[in-house]
Every structure is written in C-alpha cells, then in structure tokens.
Symmetry: C2
Subunit: 425 residues, 2 copies
Amino acid sequence: MNLIYYKNIDETLYTGELENGLKIFVVPKKGFNKKYAFFATRYGGCDRRFKLGGQWIDTPAGIAHFLEHKLFDMPDYNALAAMTASGASPNAFTSLGMTGYLFRCTDTFEDNLRMLLDFVSTPYFTEESVKKEQGIIGQEIRMVENNPSRAVSQNLLKSLYKNHPAREINIGSVESISKITAQTLYDCHRVFYNPSNMVLCCSGDFDPESIYKIAAEKITAAAGEVPERDYGEEEGPLPDRVKFEVQMEVAQPLFAFGSKISYIDDGREWTKKLLMSDLACELLAGDASKLYAEMYSSGLINRSFAIGTGSLPRTAVVLAQGRCSEPMKVVERLSQAAESFKVGAEERALFDRLKKTSIGNFLAGLDSVENICHTHAEGHFNGCLPFEYLDIISEITVEDAAAFIREAFSLERLAVSIVNPINKG
Amino acid sequence: MNLIYYKNIDETLYTGELENGLKIFVVPKKGFNKKYAFFATRYGGCDRRFKLGGQWIDTPAGIAHFLEHKLFDMPDYNALAAMTASGASPNAFTSLGMTGYLFRCTDTFEDNLRMLLDFVSTPYFTEESVKKEQGIIGQEIRMVENNPSRAVSQNLLKSLYKNHPAREINIGSVESISKITAQTLYDCHRVFYNPSNMVLCCSGDFDPESIYKIAAEKITAAAGEVPERDYGEEEGPLPDRVKFEVQMEVAQPLFAFGSKISYIDDGREWTKKLLMSDLACELLAGDASKLYAEMYSSGLINRSFAIGTGSLPRTAVVLAQGRCSEPMKVVERLSQAAESFKVGAEERALFDRLKKTSIGNFLAGLDSVENICHTHAEGHFNGCLPFEYLDIISEITVEDAAAFIREAFSLERLAVSIVNPINKG
C-alpha cells in the first residue's frame, strides 16, 4: 500500500488498489479500542437509470435500498446474525448516492472483515424471499411516509428539482418496489457491486497490510464496466415549484426552505464550494450570528432552527429548517437579510471564528473511526479526500461567502416546504 | 488530585473534591483532538418532592428541565451564544435523575470551562423571561405528546408504576409548567445546584491539575444540604396496570412491554444487577439468540425489535419494544420462552460470547470522551464508577441470568403498552 503523511494533522493514510479496481483506504489509530470497517458501493437511491453495454436501463425507485436489505441473506446463513455472534456490531445504510455496509468490533476484526467482504459480494435471492421483503420494506415505507420531518425535507427536494431523481423518496414507494424481482437484484448487484465501483475503508489500531491481504484474498471478481448514470436533464437555478404545503399530525408547523447549488465537475472545487456553503450559512444565520440572535429573541425561531448544506449526487442544496408558528416570516426575514448582506468588520471577525470552529469540528471528527471511514468513502466517490479539507478551508474568503449568501438565499431562488397541523376546525 | 490506574484497561482516572463537596473526575486521553467537559447535578425529572430543613417541598412536574433551559441566560449575555462564539459546541439535557451541561471543543478549553462553570452556577431569572419560556417549552411538550415512540414508552412506565415519579413525562405538562415562577427556579437552583450535589467530569488531552484549579477558582459557593428525595412509596413486583392501549397516527402498531427490576441500595450490587439484566435480555431475545431468529424468520418481529434495560432513579425496567402487526403474539411468545428458559450447552456458549461482546462494547466506549464523562457522572451518582465494570461483568454467571429471565419476563409481572393505528373505519 502507499502511504501519505498529512503533517498538519499528524495522520497517515494508507491507500491501495486491487487489480480489479477495488480501492482500499486505511487510517491507523494507535491506542484505539474500537476497530471499524466500511465497505461501500457508489450506488444509491438516485442511481435508477444507467447505461450499460450501450443500453439505457431503468430500474424501480427504492432498488438500491432493497438490495441492501437482501444482501445479508447468504445461501446457508444470515450475515447479520453471524457477525453479531462473532462479536461485531454490523449494520448497513443506503443514501442517495451510496450503499454502505459496516461493522464495529474490538477483537476478531479479521474474521469479521472476511465475513463482511463475503456477504456483500455474494448475491443470493429467491422469489420467495423477495416477496417477503416487499412486505417488510412496504411497512418501512409507510412509516417514513407518515413522518412529518421526512415529509418536509422530501417535499423541498420535490419543489427544487424538476428532473433529478432525489425528487423520489430514497426507499421507493409500495408500488415501485412491487416491481422488483430476484432477477432485477442480480442484475443491479452485477453492475454496481463490481469491485471497480467500490471502496473499502478501515480505521483502528491495526496493520494496513493485513487488510490489503484479506481484501485481495476475498474480492477476486474481475473489474466490471462502471455504468454511466442518468440524473436527469441539467437543472436551472430556479425551483420547479415555489411552495409545497401539506397537513399532517403535528403540534406546530414544520418548515424547510432553500435553493439549489449548481454543480462543479471537479472534486476539489466542488468540495470547496460545499465547505464554503457551510461557512456562509453559519455566517448568515448560524447560532453565533446576529440574525439568529434577533430571530430567536423576537420569538420568530426557536432552538429547532438549523441552517446548512445537503450534498446529493451531482448537486447540492442549501437549506434552513425548523418548527415555528410563522414559517413565511422566517423565509422573508432571512432572504431580506441575505439579499442586503454586506461584509463589515463584525462579519469578518465572525467569519474568522467560524473557520476556526470548522477546523475544530474537523479535528474532533478525527477521534472517530466511523467518521474517518465514512468521509473517506464519500470523499473518494466525490473525488476529494477529507484530509485535504484543512487546506481547502483556509482558501475560502469572507467575500466568497457573502456573494454566495446573496445569491443562494435570494427570494427568487428559494422553494418553501411546510407541514401544517391538521385543521381540526 | 488522586490518581487511580486501571491496569486491565490501561486508563488513568484522576479524582478530586473541592472543600465545598464538588466532585471532579478527569480521564486524560493522549493524542485526542476533542476535549469534553460535563458538569452535572443529581437533579432530574423525578426529583419533584424533597425534604429540606426538615420540611417536605413539592414542585411542579417539568421543573428540572425548565431550569436547565433558563440557566443559559446570564444577566448580560446568553451562554449558549457566547460559548458557540468562543469555538465550543455547548449543550444540555435533563434525564429522569440528572441535569447535565456540556461542551466539546478542540482549542480554548480553559476559557470555555470557565464559562460553563459560571453560567451553571449563576441563577438569573425574571418573571418576563419565565413567561416566555413557558410558551417555548409548551410547544416542545406538545411535540413530545404527539410522538408515538415517546407515548409508547411513557405509557409503559405509567402502567408499571403506581407511585414513582417516572410515571409523569420528564418535561412536564403545559398545565404543570404554568405553575413555575422565577422564585421556584431560584429555590430549586439553591437546593440542587449546590456543589455537594454536583460533579464535573472532563476528558481529553490535557493536564488534570489545571481543571482542578479552574474549578476551585470558579466554584466558591459553600456546601449546601443535599436534599432527601421522595420517589413515592415502595413498589411491589407486579404492574399497576396490565395493558395500556391508545390510538395515534402510525402505520403499524408500536409496542413496549416489560417489568420492574427491584432496587438494591448498594452501588456495586445495583450496577451488577443492571449489567446482568442487559446480558439476560441478549441471552433470551437479542440479535444473536435462537428466539430472535425464530420470531424474525416467522415475520412476528422485524429489525425494529429491541430488548434491554432502562435505568431510572432508584429503580429500573427491563423491556422489549418495536413495531409489528401482532404485538400480543410477541408478548406471549417471549414470556412463554422466558418462563421455560433453561441453561444448556448452547445457552452457555452464547452467554460467553455475549460477555465478550459486552466487554468489547465497553472498551469501544473508551474511545469516546463524551461517553467517558457521561458514564462517570452517572456512575458517581449511582455509587459505582464505570472503570469497575469489567470486574463486575466477569462475576456474572449464566445461571443468574437465567433465573432473572424466568422472573422478569414471567407473564404476571409484565405490563404492555401499545400504540395502534387510528381506525379510519
């Protein structure tokens, strides 16, 4: 494996790649008790239409998540139970752009790593077990559809995008998953779980070379074609729909509003833009800003208010959310403040403090083996590794952030999603 | 400060006590970026009736949580905003038996520690700000009351206990908090935030002595009387109410069922009983058990199923919970398996693995400065410090666990709480 030493944070990253294209990252953490492994494929809820062998293929919404559930079934055992019995805490999740399988343990790391690599790379589905899973996931979908916090975010994405697959709920609908068959699962596994579309990240107190050896021993499949993905026609800066209101069982209105961040097809530049967006949000209306204090003390917002950036495959959103009695007043106050935002001495001083906090949060994240593995997988798929972040943050200026604020929170670019209490009238 | 070196886990605990009784714990973590401080009082949602100067005093439900919210107000600034501006991430929470104030940071630890000690020990309330907070917390209460997961747990406690204050929701009701005045807050602060009722726990890469010095400089109040608390008449082993069913907006029934664990007035023995209860739950129906596999594969339970122990002031509950279509079948199957539970070779082997997993989880927890501080505060209030856990776990036998299972999950001791979907008929 190759070694990169990051002097400014005193961390070492080992990188390796198998002949079949599987990428391996190891960050040793001396003295840690916890050992963590994260095996991920660049395949998430948004990857529903892709080109393979020159053909465009459409798959049902929710397929990546469905496949994640089913992969734990091995022909003769259940991987979740086996790894739990072997002293690990295994789990998995599917986001919009990635599916990740993971475990944490203190001893028996190598045995569990073998099991992880085995079950993720062994597809095994029967029509009967697929049918049963449709029932289980169907219930999960109904729970999610009933959840006001999920609804308010999902409706914001539906309003912002005209074409992007993030419009659809990540785990699909009861109707969409009813179209999944064992064959669809085998096909998608073959395409997206091919080693050249995957990454293995490990962190803990162990020898990087032993991890490389185990990966080479277990992942012997040939490299496959990495499919081209279709995330829909390019989107303009304006939202598809300005306002999306629904009624649900809530005590107080829930709101989310924000705008799209236009994509840059360069890993480092894109990462810089997202980090800048985070800083800009804090500068405008974070906990330490004047605007936050003003809105809080006037009772317009409460501690549920949050502002930040959400990264999606090949796009991102900047958004504010929370619960309050008059959401539209928050939208107006915030966009007004944004459109007239100017950099004075106070803003400059706050921005310097925010950069320091951001660096502090980044360093604090290095104490967590989970965080190290997840950010390396994401960073790899986005083309910019996390240990570069400190350098990138130092390049961001307050003027950049101010320009971003004025644009991103201008009224014409915003979409607003609200969940109102049911009018019992 | 005094030093205890725990050889089996290679950790050092520094302990100290100011003359006024404030207890201080510091666990240095060499090489960590994150620094964490946790300042807690043994005062939570259950401490509503207490004896002081020979008099029994009653306070409204939700007062500890209300006081937590208000303490961030200083005469001339808001502590949350000030610490955020100074590069820390501050927060607070109120549980049934404790209120804790905390921050995380990487630099500027000492400045932030001074601010933390300052604002927690400085009561400042006006009738106007109390009125305003009643509105804010009133909204929080309505959110919580509307939450099906909270409802199913709270209704279980209501069913199990006849007298214990855990019956009431930790943050009170709109009605109970309406009785809080600035004077009530000053009184409760004086009683429960006196140094002899409090503990300061810090973990990170720093010198323990400097923390002691800052505490001695900032916490100069005299020791107060530690009040005697009334948690209601002693409870028998049987539940007050066998079944509690309500209807809410859920897609699928939510359930929680369990029984009371009788209290032992000895810190080490009580801790041993709780650790044993955790192991017993895993042995009977945890992820790695035969019963779990059987119930899961027959579709009776899904991955939402969980079983474990909940610790409350001077009592505890053992409980199983989750979502499924036929909760009563889960209750029957589990209590049936518990009542006829026998220790064979398989159970013995599983128990050994579970002990190893439990030790692994404990060690993994030592990588987290947050976890170290929280468990030391809790351990101090319960009379048994966490670094003793490994010794205690090794003493627990599978026969103890089996006897516990047969008793705790016997049908007559169980209460069942269910949230059903609203019948739209």
